[in-house]
Amino acid sequence: MEWLETFWATYSTLVLSIGTNVLLALSIYLTLACGLLTVANAAFMGIGAYTAALLSLHSGLPFYLSLMLGALLPAAVALLLGPPTLRLSGVYLAMATLAFGEIVRIFLLNAENLTGGALGLNGIPQHSQWFDVLVLVVAAIYLLLRCAGSRIGRTMVAICQDEVATELMGLNVRAYKLFAFVLGAGLAGLAGGLNAHFTFFISPNEYGFDRGVEILAMGVLGGTGSPWGAVIGGVLITLLPELLRGLGNYRPLINGVILIVIILYSPKGIWDLTRYLRRGGAAS
């Protein structure tokens, strides 16, 4: 078992990051599957991270309760933000959610008494164990797989293909979009809380535009055909920088190149590609 300890000492952060990134990828999968281009998930992650971390630092609440509140607050925010913004689509929706992300970041930066401002929060107890992450990731995958296999998932695919036709089939399109948005915000908040409890330190800039794009990249890379696509995307985007260590500062560049290649040659992501290969490449 000695090798395991050595392995864990070196790679624990990486393994835990895979877990939280899979949660983030699942969170963006939900909205992408409805055809919604939202980029607020980094902000929801930030709200979750700060909520859970502050509760751990200043209240005697048990860790799991802090985590759950860290998921509930961003979900509640999404419930308020959703109705006005989800009327928008395409670039306008992306811009509105982007602006919301900036508001959250700047709030975290300026509410110094609460958040520590630019200095961030230090000394967050390292409560997140590998089994916490594992249990929550498995639970999230299970939840979304059940969703995808039910009429909720079918309706989301329909909305993505033709919103008007779906609405005229008697389905409340706005309610489905809001559901995806709110559940996605909750998952992102959960990822934030878990992440904060193994990184020891968090600061507002971790939840800015860069993170938003990274989350989007996971969703697009993996594909929105199935929650498994998101899982693949989350794992790959976490591992890529490690695998490409030799490239030094050029690593982010490879991320970008891979994304461009995927979008050009398999616009529905890697998941769709694997489905194609599994069918022997014959059927489409």
């Binding site: 039910s150 079918r154 329909a158 609405e167 005229l168 089939m169 008697g170 409340n172």
Partner: protein, 258 residues
């Protein structure tokens, strides 16, 4: 069952409909005809809630539809198809119909979370119902095919099956025969007659005069956003105003379709 009272619709300065009043009865096949751009599709969009009238009231079984979201109007029992076909191209035929059927079996909001015998039974019965609807429009053998691979006429029939899946009392068909060949049109007419016999009311927009005259019990004619005639097919065919506006250029309406 459905009444439009003094409906007007403007798009900016463009008056598309003026003072349109119609009463669609509980049973029977009602036709809405008129030259291109007369405002026929706009009438459908107003009924189904995609557009709000600039003036006037639309009522269904005495209930005003104004302000209701389109999905609510569908749930009241009004379903439609689209002139520019809007099927879910990347889903199978069966899934297309299942999307619309899902609303019926309300098996509880969170019942999907755990696999259960009841859930499987619901899913099985939904699939059976969807297959039956596909059979009704003659597409049963293609249930697993991707909808985008269907021919034009088949896509129109899939749209009808999907609309039927919402369990409508009134079915609005926007140019159901467009793009169909003679045999397909004949088959579609038979299907529509069967639908009417099953207790459904139909409101049909169509340019093909043989189709309209052969099917409809009553016909209303729109021209430049105004109703210029309404009555039985024989009376419409003989109406001077209608002949001048529309029927005079016999078959021309069809030629200019895309």
């Amino acid at each position: 069952m459905l009444t439009l009272s003094s409906i007007a619709k403007n798009f900016g300065g463009l008056q598309v409909l003026q003072d349109v009043s119609l009463a669609i009865p509980e049973r029977g096949i009602f036709g809405l005809i008129g030259p291109n751009g007369a405002g026929k599709t706009t009438v459908f969009n107003l009924i189904s809630g995609l557009l709000a009238p600039s003036a006037g009231v639309i009522e269904f079984h005495g209930q005003a539809l104004t302000g209701l979201a389109p999905h609510r109007i569908t749930r009241l029992g009004i379903a439609r198809t689209f002139q520019n076909i809007r099927i879910f191209k990347e889903m199978s035929l069966l899934e297309n119909v299942l999307v619309a059927i899902g609303r019926q079996g309300n098996s509880g909001a969170v019942s999907f979370l755990l696999p259960s015998a009841k859930l499987r039974a619901t899913q099985r019965s939904e699939r059976a119902a969807a297959k039956e609807l596909l059979a009704r429009v003659g597409l049963a053998d293609k249930a697993e095919l991707l909808a985008g691979k269907l021919s034009y006429g088949e896509q129109r029939r899939l749209e009808i099956a999907r609309a039927l899946a919402t369990a409508p009392k009134l079915l609005l068909l926007d140019e159901p025969a467009a793009g169909m060949n003679g045999a397909e049109k004949q088959q579609l007419m038979e299907e529509i007659v069967k639908l009417e016999a099953s207790g459904l009311a139909l409101l049909i927009i169509e340019h093909d005069m043989r189709f309209v005259m052969g099917l409809c019990h009553e016909i209303a004619v729109l021209n430049f956003g105004q109703l210029i005639a309404q009555g039985a097919p024989a009376a419409i065919r003989a109406d001077r105003q209608v002949i001048e506006a529309y029927l005079g250029d016999d078959g021309d309406g069809e030629k200019s379709r895309s």
